[in-house]
């Protein structure tokens, strides 16, 4: 595949970012931010995953099809999570009336 050749420095930079992200997520776990803890943790994890996908897995320089395929996998997971949780989260809503 006549792929894009990235300089080694790019790989080292992404690596550093990933390690930093790991350190951040561990540190953040020990700080009480209430409901924000989960948000921060997920945001860092998603960012790290995105870095791996875009740079280590070359999606940044790949075809649009590759990007669509990768994105659709994660999107479909959201469908599974979302539509299932909307059942659990609304269990207490309707008590036989429309209130």
């Amino acid at each position: 595949m006549s792929g894009h050749v990235a300089p080694k420095s790019m790989y080292y930079a992404v690596f550093a970012a990933l390690i930093l992200g790991t350190a951040l997520t561990v540190a953040a776990a020990f700080i009480d931010m209430g409901a924000l803890n989960n948000v921060v943790m997920l945001a860092i994890a998603v960012t790290k995953a995105a870095l791996v996908v875009l740079f280590f897995m070359h999606v940044r320089w790949g075809t649009r099809l590759t990007w669509v395929v990768a994105a659709s996998g994660f999107f479909w997971l959201l469908i599974l999570f979302g539509l299932t949780m909307q059942d659990y989260l609304t269990r207490g809503w309707v008590d036989g009336t429309w209130r």
Binding site: L80, L83, V94
Partner: protein, 537 residues
């Protein structure tokens, strides 16, 4: 019988068992699948026969209720996982997809062969489960019965289904990559046959859905084997979670079963009306729409399972929406036939059957999508009639129509048309007699999955069993004349139907590499011109 030396084609290119069992030719792999799914079809049919025999009388007098539970379970497992899901994609899809897009083979021929071996391995596990005593949970394996209380071979069957899932995944993967990367020059997406669009959409479902049932079945086996509390409430688990995970795949799975048949019907109505499809773009996109929206409706199987009413509302509304692209197809097929030059050859009989029976099945699905109606009809024979109308009246009619249409291409022989029409009629009558009474008796309250029923339901069950007998005989007739045709029927020629499409421009049977040179496509492959002579390039 012809005695001239046959030209080199994929059937005589290499002899002996090894040349078939180690083949990379998508056409030979399609035939390997054809043989295996036919075996499983008749196994599933045998279980169906036993069910219908037991239901001739209201009492559970032929088999024990525990045995009856195993019969309907094995019927469902075999028919769903080992016949319906592979059938059209693994046989007709494998054979035709590369040819229809102008390629020499699928993108990954060895993975194609592997998918067949995986299918056989999974089938072996399920056969072992059947022979050593069967499974009695229903094909839906609901927890906690499947994980804790059942004494049957749940893990063995579950492993079989898990393994076979990978066959489905690999087939879908192959089709997706092939369609994206192996099209001949000039074969743009909107020149593709609708059969290809249908299989592409089916492959999307295979990829996105099958892994979820794989992990679910694995968890059932783990919970059963190690007594972990995942789905069993007695162990702290959640049985509704099982149903969410199970149906997340199993609902889209029904679209895996029907979409390929719809692709077949699109080809048949064009060929036998001598007319281009009405609204090609709409029909192409409707396949994608069914695949995508089909992933958003699974909760309609959980209306009475303890799911929240709000979620039931959401799933009910979306289930109404999923009917729209199916309706688009039915309207467009009908518009294609309208003012076409219609011939009543046996494939077209199956296409007509499909359109009528799928419409009935699909509309009754809308009844069931209605929350209030489903509370009355859930777990009754109404549901059974509904899904048999779409699965048999739809998917199997599509499969048979496709097998008849492409049989001359696959084998180079033309089956006897008179017998074929008789069989089609036989199957149509038998099918309706079997399943229409089930709508009525289900609405009247007869529950599913019981060996015994109230005496006032007997007349409907007797009619249904009579129909099933006729249907069973009907299925045997094509087996007979197809087999006969291999040796004794006249040679078919390259394009016996005078149809359009790349597959009809190559010899019957095709050479191993499909095309002697890469075709260059300049317009859509299904240009039927009523005023032109057909079959002549």
């Amino acid at each position: 019988m012809e005695t001239t030396a046959a030209p080199l084609n994929y059937l005589n290119n290499g002899h002996g068992l090894a040349s078939w069992l180690l083949t990379r030719d998508h056409k030979r792999i399609a035939l390997l699948y054809l043989w295996s799914i036919t075996v499983f079809f008749f196994l599933g049919g045998f279980f169906a026969l036993m069910i219908r025999l037991e239901l001739l009388t209201p009492a559970a007098d032929m088999v024990q209720p525990e045995t009856y539970n195993k019969l309907f379970t094995m019927h469902g497992v075999v028919m769903v996982f080992f016949f319906l899901i592979p059938s059209i994609p693994a046989v007709l899809g494998n054979f035709l997809l590369p040819i229809m897009i102008g390629a020499k083979d699928l993108a990954f021929p060895r993975i194609n062969l592997l998918s067949w071996y995986i299918y056989i391995l999974g089938g072996m596990f399920t056969l072992v489960a059947a022979i050593t005593g069967g499974v009695d949970t229903g094909w839906t394996f609901y927890a906690p019965y499947s994980t804790s209380a059942s004494n049957s071979h749940v893990i063995t069957a579950g492993v079989g289904i898990f393994i076979t899932g990978f066959s489905s995944i690999l087939t879908g993967l192959n089709f997706i990559v092939t369609t994206h990367r192996m099209r001949a020059p000039g074969m743009t997406w909107f020149r593709l046959p609708l059969f290809v669009w249908a299989h592409y959409a089916t492959s999307l479902i295979m990829i996105l859905g099958t892994p979820v049932i794989a992990i679910t079945v694995l968890l059932v086996a783990v919970e059963r084997g190690l007594h972990l509390g995942i789905f069993d409430p007695a162990l702290g688990g959640d049985p509704v979670l099982f149903q969410h995970l199970f149906w997340f795949y199993s609902h889209p799975a029904v679209y895996i079963m029907i979409l390929p048949a719809m692709g077949v019907v699109a080809e048949l109505v064009q060929a036998f009306s001598r007319k281009n499809i009405f609204g090609y773009t709409f029909v192409a996109f409707s396949s994608l729409a069914i695949a995508i929206i089909g992933f958003l409706v699974w909760g309609h199987h959980l209306f009475v399972a303890g799911q929240s009413t709000y979620a039931g509302l959401v799933f009910s509304i979306i289930s109404f929406f999923v009917a729209i692209p199916s309706a688009v197809k039915v309207f467009n097929w009908t518009a294609t036939i309208y003012k076409g030059s219609v011939s009543w050859d046996s494939p077209m009989l199956y296409a007509f059957g499909f359109i009528g029976l799928f419409s009935i099945g699909g509309l009754t699905g809308l009844f069931l999508a209605t929350l209030g109606m489903d509370i009355h009809m859930h777990d009754t024979y109404f549901i059974i009639a509904h899904f048999h109308y779409v699965m048999v009246g739809g998917a199997i009619f599509g499969y048979l129509g496709g097998m008849h249409y492409w049989w001359p291409k696959i084998t180079g022989r033309m089956y006897p048309e008179g017998w074929a029409r008789f069989a089609a009629l036989n199957i149509f009558v038998g099918f309706n007699l079997t399943f229409f009474p089930q709508f009525i008796v289900g609405y009247l309250g007869m529950p599913r999955r019981y060996a015994m029923y109230a005496p006032e339901f007997q007349i409907y069950n007797v009619l249904s069993t009579a129909g099933a007998t006729i249907l069973g005989i009907g299925y045997l007739i094509p087996m007979d004349y197809f087999t006969w045709s291999l040796k004794y029927a006249p040679l078919a020629g390259d394009n016996p139907w005078g149809a359009r499409g790349l597959e009809w421009e190559i010899p019957s049977p095709p050479p191993t590499e499909n095309f002697t040179a890469t075709p260059i496509v300049t317009e859509g492959t299904h240009q039927y011109a009523p005023s032109r002579e057909v079959g002549i390039v």
